[in-house]
Amino acid sequence: MALLDVSNLNVEFPTRHGTLHALRDVSFTLDKGERLGIVGESGAGKSLAAFAIINLLSKPGRISGGTITFEGQDLTAMDTDALRSIRGNRISMIFQDPMMTLNPVLTIGTQMVETLQAHRRISHAEAKRIAIAKLREVTIPSPEERFDSYPHELSGGMRQRVVIAIALLTDPSIIIADEPTTALDVTIQAEIMALMLDLCETHDVGLILITHDLGVVSEVTQRVNVMYAGRVIETGSTRDIIDAPKHPYTRGLIAALPQQNEAAQRLNQIPGSMPSLDGIPPGCAFNPRCPHVGERCRREIPALRALGEQQVACHSAEEVAALAGNGGSAS
């Protein structure tokens, strides 16, 4: 059985103008030590899909259907106290901006000890020992001194390493990382990602990496969920999906990257933009932007179905897959 099994998850936001369905029938699993990427553009629901797992939904958002099974327990049926023993303990989070995550008026050490003591009955001295060991593990130089530093005394890359150290404090089995390197420079990003990869491997920690960057997904994850307008539209092994995408959106997204285009030529662009939640068209949400759109796409929502090694939610997936077979992503 998988470590984490999300099944038919639905999240909705009741508003004055009706209910917005932010996530629809999202299903995925994560095994022990596995690294899963969730990619998509802003508003696709990728962060929501990850944070719904530990019920970090901002009001009035709520889970309106589906189950989330973690180590055999259904998280959606748990009360707040029981969930608190898992959130930040068995499942840790890393957010985008380390300056927002860390409390600016507390030292790093205080925040680390606080986290540990919230989940375990241990002495301050013992907590400090663990905290310094974790700071050393994330390659913070002179961790004993840094323990007493305030967040503003550290650089951005160093702060994100502290956030990673905090996430690792309780030896979680899953880390959810929401765009952990988006606020960082490219050389720092490479360092942080290499570090996370290394730590996940040595501790056998599962990683759910939320990102818009397909390059990062390719370098870090083993499997990937591609999301569009609140649904998973393609899922499978990262290599398969990047090398031979079968959904026209995934294909368009990869083809639009400058790396995939002849220098100085016009880029392959996807026309239009992703619909907002209150304007999702009938049928396939991607149909107004899709080059393979047919009459059925405007009527019927495509279900996620197996096609070769991956799963794809597209009525014309066979047609798209055939294109991917001859000549990569050039269209």
């Binding site: 553009e41 802003s42 650089s155 890359g157 160093m158 420079d185 490219v186 050389t187 720092i188 990003q189 490479a190 360092e191 990602m193 290499a194 990869l197 818009h212 960057d213 397909l214 390059g215 990062v216 390719s218 370098e219 870090v220 990262t238 290599r239 990047i242 368009g252 997204l253 990869i254 639009a256 990257l257 400058p258 790396q259 995939q260 285009n261 220098a263 100085a264 016009r266 880029l267 392959n268 662009q269 996807i270 026309p271 933009s273 992703m274």
Partner: protein, 329 residues
Amino acid sequence: MTGPRETLVGITDVVKHFAGGGNVLKREKRKVHAVNGVTLAIRQGESFCLVGESGCGKSTLARTVIGLNAPTAGTITYRGQRIDDLTPKAMAPYRRRMQMVFQNPYASLNPRMTVQTILEEPIRFHFPRLSRAEVKAKVEEVMLSVGNDPHWGSRYPHEFSGGQRQRISIARALMVDPEFVVADEPISALDVSIQAQVLNVMMDARDQRDLTYLFITHDLSVVEHFGSRVGVMYLGTVCELAETKALFANPRHPYTQILLAAIPRLDASGFRHTRLAGEVPTAMDLPSGCVFHPRCPHANARCKAEIPALKDQPDGTAIACHGIEEGRI
């Protein structure tokens, strides 16, 4: 690009310091050394990219070039005419020829103005004699050329998506038929599929109007696609200057090499890149000698003491590195 063309914008020994930092109570006078002696020539018709990480001074340099900051030292010329010391009135005709596109289309469009007003304002300022009908026709023409519906004029910026807004701000820059456009991270705030749309609009405008671009970005894959020449900046200095193709085929400066290796690539897995020693120093305390020496794997005593000059190489690139000059690297 066909052959070498004349210099449009000349940047000579430009230095820009900002007062700041330090302790207000102690009245310490500390300076931020944002740009420290940059010399560049942007040629007519090219898409010159400045690339570097946050705090390297690329945006400051761009803003200095277009006259939003006065340089602390050095000169800026436009078609051979010095422009950094002009009065605002004397600068006005140059402002029409040089336009800017900013990073965040949510902040750079006035939320209280309709799109029509936003687009008309620059043209009314620079061409006060144009009739209403002529202005309107111009707005329509430019909106179409950036792929926006010309009937959107009566709407406000908040009614548009990020990509549409950035196309409106490109349209605003194009309204006065500029020759030179400075674009400061114009696609960084946008989603991947929208980035491609906006880059295409910028490339179309270049081809149709023979524009010269100064394109500021931290995204090397965009540089590789868009730029004809690249300047790599680190802590306020240019460390390598090359044709885009040459730079990506054969990065020479140790910093450029590390920067290129750090790009996450679709065909790779593992993030096993060279690790840089230490952290980026701040522009308040510049390292002595070569600013890159504390992180450089090849640094020696000379690098710590002496600032390397940007020297032309036989292959047409220019590099500021003692190690390369001495043949050590």
